[in-house]
């Protein structure tokens, strides 16, 4: 993948200035098209939200409706679907997502956050360190090693999941959360690449000045590179958080105890448990899994979009 590198285009973010490659459809055509496309893309999520506010029997209406009937039951119904009620003995009275007697979503949320915190921390630290070794230190064999780093990005996880399971088994890690976060402490190809690119854009002169001042390699890394790389580290953290939140196959293979499940796995369990989960509850649970990510996105749009644009242009 390193063989040919396209020229690095600038990456303006959601730019305001008129761009050259712009299509030249008349404005009203563009607006109409864009509106239709956007509505199509957003509708599934609105439908998810709408279903999650309905009582079960109203999910069966044909043609479908968008609001519960009457609308005034919405707050109460939303509470029952999302939370549910439990009596003093802890028995379910109204089956809601958060207090479901079998699928312990609060616990799964906690597990997900634990895995996320540990693996995001590990991924940021390890990738930052390794990228420094590739960007700022000239050592024999660096080029070829970096090519190996990049080629690891091409290996699909399913290819190694079975032997990984056997390795984690011999480490006695099956039945714990360790398989999900420990590997994150050993960096990965994509993040090393991303940070290396960023480090290389930091002027070498800064290093040289620091060296003259008697700074060690670690001093340069710690005092110069890291502070200047905060935006790139934020991208790594954010993307890895998204990965953990999303990951389904990893938990499916490595987690055997239901107490250790993550949200993605819990959601699937919620849907597939013997019996059935009504659509309104399923959509409420899905909304709960989606909402935090959307919130995070709206708060960090800038970092997000910049990160993706960089990722795509690495060639």
């Amino acid at each position: 993948m390193t063989v040919q590198r396209p020229a690095q285009p600038r990456i303006p973010l959601w730019p305001r200035k008129r761009s050259a490659a712009e299509t030249a459809l008349p404005r009203w055509v563009a607006y109409t098209l864009l509106t239709v496309v956007s509505v199509v893309y957003i509708l599934p999520l609105i439908w998810m939200l709408s279903t999650s506010f309905k009582p079960e029997n109203q999910t069966q209406t044909n043609p479908p409706t968008w609001l519960p009937d009457p609308v005034s039951i919405l707050p109460q119904q939303a509470y029952e679907n999302y939370v549910g009620t439990v009596d003093e003995q802890g028995r379910t009275e109204i089956r809601g997502v958060w207090t479901d007697p079998v699928i312990d979503f609060p616990l799964y949320l906690r597990n997900t956050l634990i895995v996320a915190a540990l693996s995001v921390t590990g991924m940021v630290i390890s990738s930052a360190v390794v990228a420094f070794g590739f960007a700022r230190i000239k050592w024999p064999g660096r080029g070829i090693t970096f090519a190996v780093v990049l080629s690891t990005m091409m290996i699909p996880f399913p290819v190694i999941m079975a032997p990984l399971f056997l390795i984690f088994r011999s480490l006695d890690w099956i039945g714990t959360l360790l398989p999900l976060w420990v590997p994150a402490w050993f960096a990965n190809g994509f993040n090393i690449f991303l940070l290396r690119q960023f480090y290389m854009s930091i002027p070498k002169e800064l290093d040289e000045a620091a060296t003259i001042d008697g700074c060690s390699q670690f001093g340069i890394f710690w005092r110069i590179i890291l502070p200047l790389s905060k935006p790139a580290l934020a991208v790594v953290a954010l993307f890895h958080f998204m990965f953990v939140w999303n990951d389904f196959l990893g938990p499916l293979v490595f987690l055997t105890h239901q107490e250790d499940f993550t949200l993605a796995l819990g959601l699937q369990l919620y849907q597939s448990q013997a019996g059935a989960t009504p659509w309104n509850l399923l959509m409420a649970a899905s909304t709960m899994v989606v909402a935090p990510v959307l919130l995070l996105f709206f708060l960090t749009q800038r970092t997000f979009v910049k990160g993706i644009a960089t990722e795509g242009i690495k060639g």
């Binding site: 050259a20 957003i42 999910t59 699909p156 649970a285 899994v289 990510v293």
Partner: protein, 309 residues
């Protein structure tokens, strides 16, 4: 000279290796070793609980006679071709459409990007509900259309049960994958904005029309980005797992129509037997396929991808 560029080569080698040691260890333990282990077990019959029984190349030979293997290969290839092909075209079209500076464009860009944030398991739930034959939004939307058509032509078209009728499974999955092209759209958008103004000015002088300009200037200019994203998309499509697994409750759908490579590998490794050895053989074949496809993309690109020097 900075600290990393001075000192003897062996000294620099030592400190370089020290810095990359986290990756090096991880690479050896969590990637290289599993791959080797996987190859070793692919030459055995291994149920995890019983000790591995060496059987030479039998697993690989059996793959050739295994109808389910060919079925999942076919499904996965069809899925990859359609999602990557249609997805790339759609993403470039959307990116060009979004590449304007008009008020409110940010809202449109956000709308198309947001679906990619939805965790796959949740997305699968939402689309199962949308695709429901009797109560789903998609068929409800199609119903008025069919009513008109049927009245006019005397036909009897109806919205299908997308996930229960085998013939409609693949279209359903491809449609859903098109819903999640937002990431590629953002990348192409950035690439389009990286095309330098002077290229367009030059082409305008040559008197090119808009369509020709898009074909002869814009596309070649962003072709390296397209290449990269096509490779990523192929690798991603080839490992598709979560969505069909969730939608079919781990069964693989009617007539195995939603049974994909990774799912079959998973079933062999953890369900059928388990057949760890066979799963490992499947894994090596998968790896070989992904590498070949990547190589093929590069080979094709040598002819068509334009690199500025």
């Amino acid at each position: 000279m900075s600290a990393g560029e001075t000192g003897s080569p062996s000294r620099r080698l030592f400190s370089g290796l020290a810095w990359i040691s986290p990756w090096l260890v991880g690479f050896l333990v969590f990637l290289a070793f599993p791959l080797l282990l996987s190859f070793r077990y692919s030459l055995t019959d291994y149920s995890i609980l019983e000790s591995p029984l060496p059987i030479g190349l039998e697993n690989y030979r059996q793959l050739l006679d295994d109808p389910t293997f060919w079925k999942v290969m076919w499904n996965t290839a069809v899925y990859a071709i359609f999602t990557v092909g249609l997805g790339t075209v759609l993403a470039i079209l959307l990116a060009s459409l979004l590449n304007r500076d008009i008020p409110g464009i940010g809202i449109f860009r956000t709308a198309i990007f947001v679906p990619t944030l939805v965790p796959l398991v949740a997305a699968a739930m939402v689309w199962m509900w949308l695709f429901n034959g009797e109560l789903g939004l998609i068929n409800a939307g199609l119903r008025p259309l069919f009513t008109v058509v049927n009245a006019a032509l005397g036909t009897d078209f109806r919205g299908p049960a997308w996930l229960e009728e085998a013939a409609w499974n693949m279209p359903a999955l491809v449609i859903m994958s098109l819903w999640m092209v937002g990431r590629a759209v953002v990348i192409y958008l950035a690439a389009l904005q990286g095309v330098p103004q002077d290229m367009y000015e030059a082409s305008a002088i040559d008197g090119m029309g808009r369509a020709r300009r898009f074909w002869h200037v814009t596309l070649p200019m962003i072709s390296p980005v397209i290449l990269f994203n096509v490779i990523i998309a192929i690798i991603d499509a080839w490992q598709v797992f979560a969505v069909p697994y969730v939608m079919t409750r781990g069964i693989g759908g009617p007539e195995k129509a939603m049974y994909f490579y990774s799912h079959y590998l998973y079933d062999n490794a953890f369900l059928f037997g388990p057949r760890m050895g066979y799963a490992c053989a499947l894994a090596w074949v998968q790896l070989a396929i992904v590498l070949c496809l990547t190589g093929l993309t590069f080979w094709v690109s040598r002819r068509y991808v334009f690199y500025r020097s």
